[in-house]
């Protein structure tokens, strides 16, 4: 149950983390929340973020934590593992709570349901509510931290809704909740509310300075550019007019199937080290995880746009770990931050395998004295310039 705190300088945020891997929901919640609050050294928390394994009785867990922390706003999500201050809580193992003072920021939290039915409207409603909860508006900068349930789908539409309300000036960061790769039920938290798939929660961060949202992945192309010529929802049918699964497999290196299993149970036929890179206007790629299902169909976790220009991408642990320094540095660039909030993909944890804990420690290493707090997700949000901002297999971050 490591507890750390960042030093509060002037109006800087003071942050502290509490974590527990106790099996009992009440005990785990009590330990994590107590430690997080204690870490603030008596300062009043302005915001709490909680990540928890789906294995807990979440209602009991949330009730326990709220008994100790209410009325301070709290948002959170179930994860597929999470990390705090350099330590990894492996999937299915525990709960972590981050407590923050407000510093120069003002926070507003909100939640919404109905993503599956009306994702854009839900996004609009969520953004307006979170912004309103942060209090009267001034001509300040802002960012939005978005936690969506992970099996709802429509994450980009949710983001579009947020974008319609807040515009390009407000970056969005966050992730989709996990469930230790059970792929059964994910949840987000908002105060006393526990929302299952179809729900989302958000934190509006009203800031005196512009906030940077950063995303990077480390994946490399192993194919020439290809055109996806036929898709059917999550199934990629044809690439360049040929059967997609065949094209995909052609790019596997012989040793890939022998990769050692990682920390989480992979999907059947899941080749965690291969995916698609959507070719972006600037030549970069947005990663879309892909796998061959038991019927031999090539599936993606997020549907590919029609006639997507893609490259098949792969990576090594070193590739993935190699982006951490840049992500942390750019998130903090030009400011003295107290806490780094990171969102990494469970697919990265797959690839990292036994090196899973290294990512958490490297993030902490790059962040120095900052408190680091992150979760492994079913998809990451990082909307920075254009409207798009939903990623797979990527590390995204913001520093406060």
């Amino acid at each position: 149950m490591p507890v750390t705190s960042s030093e509060q300088r002037g109006q800087r945020v003071r942050a502290a983390v509490g974590a527990s891997t106790a099996a009992d929901s009440v005990q785990a919640g009590t330990e994590a929340a107590t430690a997080a609050l204690a870490g603030l050294g008596g300062d009043a928390p302005a915001l709490l973020i909680m990540y928890a394994s789906i294995r807990y009785d979440l209602a009991v867990l949330l009730h326990t934590v709220r008994r100790l922390t209410a009325p301070t706003p709290l948002v959170g999500a179930t994860s597929s593992g999470h990390f705090q201050d350099g330590a990894l809580t492996i999937p299915g193992a525990g709960v972590s709570v981050l407590a923050l003072t407000s510093g120069d920021y003002r926070f507003g939290t909100a939640s919404v349901t109905g993503i599956r039915e009306h994702a854009v409207q839900a996004g609009q409603q969520l953004a307006r509510a979170a912004r309103a909860a942060a209090g009267p508006r001034h001509d300040r900068d802002a960012a939005l931290i978005l936690l969506a349930t992970g099996l709802s789908g429509h994450q980009q539409e949710l983001l579009n809704g947020v974008h319609k309300v807040v515009g390009a000036k407000v970056p969005v960061v966050g992730g989709s909740a996990g469930d230790d790769r059970m792929l059964e039920r994910t949840c987000v938290f908002d105060g006393d509310r526990l929302l299952t798939d179809g729900g989302a929660a958000a934190i509006w961060v009203d800031s005196p300075w512009p906030l940077s949202v950063v995303a990077d992945h480390g994946w490399e192309a192993v194919s020439l550019p290809l055109l996806v010529t036929k898709t059917d929802g999550h199934v990629v049918c044809e690439i360049g007019g040929r059967p997609a699964a065949e094209v995909f497999q052609e790019h596997f290196t012989p040793d890939a199937p022998q990769r050692r299993p990682g920390l989480v149970r992979p999907a059947p036929g899941y080749q965690s080290a291969y995916g698609f890179g959507l070719i972006e206007p600037d030549g970069t790629r947005i990663i879309r995880g892909a796998y061959l299902d038991s019927d031999g169909l090539l599936r993606t976790f997020t549907p590919l746009p029609p006639y997507a220009a893609v490259q098949i991408v792969t990576c090594t642990s070193a590739d993935l770990l190699g982006v951490i320094d840049d992500v942390v540095r750019e998130a903090v660039l030009g400011r003295e931050a107290s806490v780094l909030l990171a969102f990494s993909c469970v697919a990265r944890l797959d690839v990292l395998a036994e090196q899973g804990p290294v990512e958490a420690s490297l993030i902490q290493e790059a962040a120095g004295e900052m408190t680091t707090f992150g979760m492994y997700t079913y998809g990451e949000f990082a909307r920075t310039t254009r409207v798009s901002g939903f990623h797979n297999a990527t590390l995204t971050a913001i520093a406060l």
Partner: protein
């Protein structure tokens, strides 16, 4: 040069592979962009939704922080749609100044890009609107939407990536297709609007709101700045509705805009006009105009033409409605207001908050029925037309004259102060109408009975006024021809009592308030009872004994007479059957009166015979009295004949009082004639009546009929009738109508003779 190493073959291959990959990546990226953008344009959505989605994809595929669609408004740009601006951005309400790049793009009609000043022309601060500036924009593109109302798509990027030369054709292609798609969607939307709303014009049944809505809809359908509708009347067009015209323009009518083209064309001044067609020429003209001489979108004329057809249908509909309404409110014969229009008018004047009162005259022609019967309905109509014309001359211009129905006319007198004024007008009407009229070549004398009342505004209802005036008219008629009666409050109250009685009659039978009395019919020479006449009586708990002359017509009006008549027959039969059981009751008959209304009931003969037989009597025991009357029509012949065949004795009542049409006697199986009391009373001292009675008796004798004298009240009358050979009679002299028990006592052999009769002569043996 010494350090230079030639590229190895592998390195060359790698380099070429890299170049090929880069080329393929660019090509596929552009393909993806175009496909994604064009697929948005192909999706079913409204113009607004489609534009919004397109801007979102543009932001995505061109890495643009903000993409917006703007429309030039003078030297400013109004944002119509955007992706990347917050929803409360002032740009949506306050337009941006058009920067040099935007002006350039609009002026040249081609895409303009700006960037870092190295690969592209440098972006100037003036090109970045205030609300976008905080995004640290580094490159931008202004893409004209060709032919779409001075609009641009603008893409602002914060990334250092400049817009590539290859981006421009894609943007141009998208803008051009967007223009076509928007036009098509808008046209579709207009057609949809036409389909949904065009026909709704017909809901307006009055012309003014119809034309007003037409002007409003036209504005939306054509995206015009001003629309107006001119109505063509007698070859002249008159402005009747508009949207967007200024008062000074209306004041300067006609031709404020120099409409110089024929309908269906767009004039040089940018005014579009179409005609609303009708067979004999346009019924209206529709106009749409745009400010600053902007041209209308292609197809607008067609839209207006379709709309004009809708309007034409709606106007025709409104005309028809007007005609129907007129027909519904006018009496078709006289063109006077009809009953419904009169009631509506009366309601309206009664609601006016004025101090004066409202008078009402109810006029019923005297003798009209005779004219109708003698000269036919056409002559009756001719007479009504002449009467209507006379009445028109009798009233004031503000009074309303209506034909209430048949030969009844109603005059509504507004602004009356006292009842005397109503009486005065009533008298004038009577005097004006009382005259000889020539109809169908015959001279007829017609007068009117007039009833009048005064109504208090805000209190009296049309129903009450009509009811009381009608009652007053009946009172007037009761006094003779050409009389006026005005009812004050008390008189009205009494008339209402009469109406109350009418409703009470509905329950009289159920409440056991009806009963029969029996007046014996004697042989005048032997004073033997040959039959009784059953007479109906109504004893009301509050009104007391109600005269049959009052309630029988009520029962006939309401149709109750059928049920009452059957009850009377059944009761009389039952009584006779009882008397037949008495030692001296055998062989006597029972005379029962039939109302003409009963004669016209379906299966009347069967029902009558059934009732007689059900009582245990034979039809020959019963005498049924029918009144000689003008409405004893041919269609009762079957009924009467059927009864005659069954054995019922038929009596023609009140013979001599009406037309005394001998054809009845020939056509119907009449066996008995009743000589009316009015003649009987004159047989002593009245030569004329004596002659009539003698004639009736002669007729009866010659036809083998039996005559019964009614209403014998004096000994002299009885003696005179005997001398004339009349064998049967009834009247107070012989016996009043009696209750059953008293009547039964008359059948006793010990019965003493009636006093009056005893005093004169000994009873017949």
């Amino acid at each position: 040069m010494a350090d230079w190493h030639p590229e190895t073959e592998v390195e060359q291959l790698r380099r070429k592979l890299g170049q090929a990959a880069e080329a393929a990546r660019d090509a596929y990226r552009d393909t993806t962009r175009l496909i994604r953008l064009l697929s948005v344009l192909g999706q079913p959505a409204s113009a607004e939704e489609m534009t919004e989605r397109l801007l979102t994809v543009l932001s995505d595929v061109f890495f643009a922080d903000v993409v917006c669609m703007v429309r030039r408004e003078g030297d400013r740009l109004a944002v119509t749609t955007a992706c990347g601006l917050p929803e409360d951005d002032p740009a949506y309400t306050t337009s941006w100044p058009a920067g040099p790049a935007a002006r350039h793009a609009l002026a040249e009609g081609r895409t303009v890009t700006r960037g870092d000043g190295e690969t592209d022309t440098a972006l100037s601060a003036a090109d970045i609107p205030g609300t976008v500036a905080p995004l640290r924009i580094r490159s931008a593109a202004w893409v004209p939407i060709y032919g779409y109302a001075d609009s641009l798509i603008i893409l602002f990027r914060s990334s250092p990536l400049p817009f590539a030369t290859s981006d421009v054709p894609i943007l141009n292609s998208v803008a051009s297709r967007l223009c076509l798609t928007l036009r098509e969607r808008e046209r579709n939307a207009v057609i949809e609007r036409l389909a949904h709303h065009g026909h709704l014009l017909t809901r307006h049944l009055r012309l003014e709101p119809l034309l007003d809505e037409a002007a409003a809809q036209l504005l939306l359908l054509t995206s015009a700045d001003r629309t107006w509708v001119e109505l063509v009347e007698d070859g002249q067009a008159h402005l009747r509705a508009h949207r967007g015209l200024r008062p000074d323009e209306i004041a300067g009518w006609p031709h404020p805009f120099g409409v110089d083209g024929p309908p269906g064309s767009e004039s040089e001044s940018g005014v579009l006009s179409v005609a609303v067609p009708r067979e004999e020429g346009p019924m209206a003209l529709l106009y749409a105009a745009r400010d600053r001489g902007e041209h209308f979108a292609p197809g607008t004329t067609e839209i207006m033409t379709i709309f004009a057809n809708h309007l034409g249908v709606a106007m025709t509909n409104a005309d028809l409605y007007h005609a129907l309404k007129q027909r519904a409110t006018l009496d078709p014969l006289t063109n006077l207001a009809n009953r419904s229009a009169m009631v509506t008018h009366l309601e309206a004047v009664l609601q006016r908050p004025e101090l004066t009162r409202v008078g009402l005259l109810f006029c019923d022609l005297d003798g009209f029925k005779a004219v109708n019967d003698l000269l036919g309905h056409e002559a009756g109509d001719e007479l009504l037309l002449q009467v209507a014309e006379r009445l028109r001359g009798s009233i004031r211009p503000d009074d309303l004259l209506a034909r209430f129905g048949g030969d009844e006319f109603v005059i509504v007198l507004d602004g009356i102060r006292q009842l005397a004024e109503v009486a005065e007008v009533g008298a004038r009407v009577c005097a004006d109408l009382d005259d000889l009229y020539v109809v169908a070549g015959e001279q007829v004398r017609v007068s009117a009975s007039v009833g009048g009342v005064l109504g208090i505004r805000g209190q009296t209802t049309p129903t009450a006024m009509l009811r009381d005036a009608d009652a007053a008219m009946y009172v007037a008629k009761g006094r003779g021809r050409g009389q006026v009666e005005v009812f004050d409050e008390d008189a009205s109250h009494r008339s209402r009592d009469r109406l109350d009685l009418r409703s009470e009659l509905l329950h009289a039978l159920d409440r056991d308030q009806l009963h029969l009395v029996y007046q014996p019919i004697f042989t005048l020479d032997t004073h033997r009872i040959v039959a009784f006449e059953a007479l109906l009586r109504w004893t009301h708990p509050y009104h007391g004994t109600v005269s049959p002359e009052v309630f029988i017509p009520m029962a006939e009006d309401s149709g109750q007479i059928t049920a009452i008549g059957e009850w009377v027959l059944a009761r009389a039969c039952a009584q006779l059957h009882a008397w037949h059981q008495l030692p001296h009751g055998r062989g006597i008959g029972m005379s029962v009166n039939l109302s003409p209304v009963q004669l016209h009931q379906p299966q009347a003969a069967e029902r009558t015979i059934d009732i007689i037989r059900a009582s245990g009597l034979h039809p020959t025991d019963i005498w049924l009295e029918i009144t000689e009357h003008s409405y004893l029509r041919h269609d009762v012949t079957d009924y009467v004949t059927a009864l005659g065949v069954a054995g019922v004795h038929l009596v023609l009542d009140d013979f001599g009082t009406a037309y005394s049409n001998l054809a009845y006697l020939k056509r119907l199986p009449i066996e008995i004639l009743k000589i009316d009391k009015s003649f009987v009373s004159g047989v002593v001292g009245g030569e004329l009546d004596l002659s009539i009675v003698r004639a009736i008796l002669a007729i009866a004798d010659s036809l083998g009929l039996v005559a019964i004298a009614e209403g014998i009240e004096t000994e002299e009358q009885g003696a005179a009738l005997r001398r004339l050979g009349c064998r049967l009679g009834q009247g107070y002299l012989l016996s009043r109508p009696l209750p059953p028990d008293a009547a039964a006592r008359l059948l006793q052999p010990r019965l003493p003779a009636p006093p009056a009769y005893t005093a004169a002569t000994p009873p017949p043996a």
